[in-house]
Symmetry: C2
Subunit: 402 residues, 2 copies
Amino acid sequence: MRMPQGFQWGGARCGLKNRRNDVGLLVSSVPARAAGVFTTNNVRAACVDYTRASIADGILRAIVVNSGNANCCTGLQGERDTESMAHIAAGKLEIDPSEVAVASTGVIGQLLDMAKVEIGVSVASMELGSDPVPFMDAILTTDLVEKWAYTDDTGVLLEKGARVEGGHDGKASIYGVAKGSGMIAPNMATMLGFLATDWDVSDIDLQGALKAAADVSFNCMTVDGDTSTNDMLLILANGESGVKPTADEFQRALERVCVSLAKQIARDGEGATKLVEVRVRGTEDPKKVARTIAESPLVKTAMFGCDPNWGRIMMAAGRSGVAFDPKDARLRIVVGDEEFLLFEGGGPAAFDAKRVSTALKSDHVVIDLSLEGDAVGLAEQATVYTCDFGYGYVRINAEYHT
Amino acid sequence: MRMPQGFQWGGARCGLKNRRNDVGLLVSSVPARAAGVFTTNNVRAACVDYTRASIADGILRAIVVNSGNANCCTGLQGERDTESMAHIAAGKLEIDPSEVAVASTGVIGQLLDMAKVEIGVSVASMELGSDPVPFMDAILTTDLVEKWAYTDDTGVLLEKGARVEGGHDGKASIYGVAKGSGMIAPNMATMLGFLATDWDVSDIDLQGALKAAADVSFNCMTVDGDTSTNDMLLILANGESGVKPTADEFQRALERVCVSLAKQIARDGEGATKLVEVRVRGTEDPKKVARTIAESPLVKTAMFGCDPNWGRIMMAAGRSGVAFDPKDARLRIVVGDEEFLLFEGGGPAAFDAKRVSTALKSDHVVIDLSLEGDAVGLAEQATVYTCDFGYGYVRINAEYHT
């Protein structure tokens, strides 16, 4: 596989966290069109405001990112440090600081060690290349695995762990990396996603496309319902391949990459043993119902315990604030090729609890809830990605001390 | 202490759950004025609709309650069984079925064993008396302790575990009992609260008073954010003492009893080791901010781990959707007489993390967040009661199998 043209990736370890790289650089050889989606948290890191401003003109040359320190709730000094990060990177890369985006993830409330950051950026800038792994590594905190996905130039999705059977795999058109394990990990923060494409998207509304892709992927994902102070999703499109996808082709490819990354994050949720996909349809606001189910600690602990406890799923749907008649509800669990009906017509269905429990041991479970009853009208379906909730989450988040 | 006049309490064990009583009766010797507050969950047990209808005329003689089975998501047969429960109780008590309220808590989705219920109601009706303990016992599910509180006829609150120093303790005016451990416990459901008063409240808007008291107590409490399908709070006022409190006196006494019961429920939350009180002021919607903090799994696991992780508290406040300037925020932890400032002016305060961590080992912790900055204007304060979140919650909710 060849990476998108005209991008270089780098990473270095400067001691902001204990293991792995902690400073990363993604650089485009020419000014790239850029768009971003940011945390809605009212308490935000300085880098969120800085990067929002720096992409206001729609152009970026580079992204500099650090892990191990979120540089959030750090007052005026924190704002200065974010600005310095951009200036240091711009200096090393010999570009204008206004073309640099800054992202941070890690501990809240501690000042960045700028001497370390300067060394990290310097080393990373000297080791730029086409291999994205040093960069991927540099954005992780409590993540257990790297997260990446790309579409090849025929639009086929290739993702971590997926076989390439039938896929073209000739050349990546959109290449994406992400991190995130808790929305906030043990005092570490943040979902970060970075996408690089060499497609020429000059005729496409890049910001609109990114927002739409985020809405069906990262915005449909929840580990613990807590929104980080530093969340950031950025795309750089440098047009270097000369290929002009249609808006539809681009949107489809973009969404495939984002959904894959979102699922990888959910599956790697703190303490998680499985990816849980909650699908809801047949109501005015299926996403709200799906999100309420996906955020319910009782549903998530039942998934951890492989317990077909449909009462908790119906309870969560019922408290979502979305109106429906329980008599119209039809709740199924889908695991691979197996499908189990648990609740229908206002009462429990006859199912073999032992068989469902065994199926729930899978690392990928789908909760499928239809609320449309006989009147099959509202076809819109929402899917929210989450994980189960077990001892590991408590261990990671309670036994860590600030 | 003498109980409110003209009420009798009873409980019996008929085998709906493994231990303790599982059917309870609360009976007024004369028709009592009645009011109720019910779950807002769209998926509701039959008893919720039944009882709402039976108190529509504002009069009740008795409450019959069972634990061990929520009789929810049980279709038409479930509705018939709720009605039967009222008829069985009315028959034993020789009153009209329309004067009987029904409450249930326990497993969702299983039909009630009505033969057992009939035996339970029969035995309970033969053992009615002034001792509320058999009744209290009959409403518990995963609760570890009974919950009760009352105000004496001078308005002083007496509650479980509280010394009576200075209290009059001559005679209870409003006596309340409650249960609840998870909003939903391991497939067991429900917050239930029952209040009996012999005050004459004929000139008082009983429903309005109960709703107002619920809004500052039970509706300001969260264990896991999950709202049960069977929640119910009922008050019976039979006027038997002949004493007419003013509306203010009554409201104050009612709120004291309800707040005490709500705190007892939060403290006994599934797997909880402490009561956590979240106080917020200085913003348009302090309750929304307090509730978001109280429901954050990251804040709750930090409380379990005795970790003064103020970054998580600020993160949760920030994602509440309520606007404020972090620079105006002032966050303190209060434990007994000790007070620790953690965050102020947009950055961390200087505090001794070890001392705060030691203080957090207390079984009652207050998180105090002021968002008003220098412009001290919005005096309104909201308090939300919750508990910490540890291995016990996961154990109870994941290792139980339906």
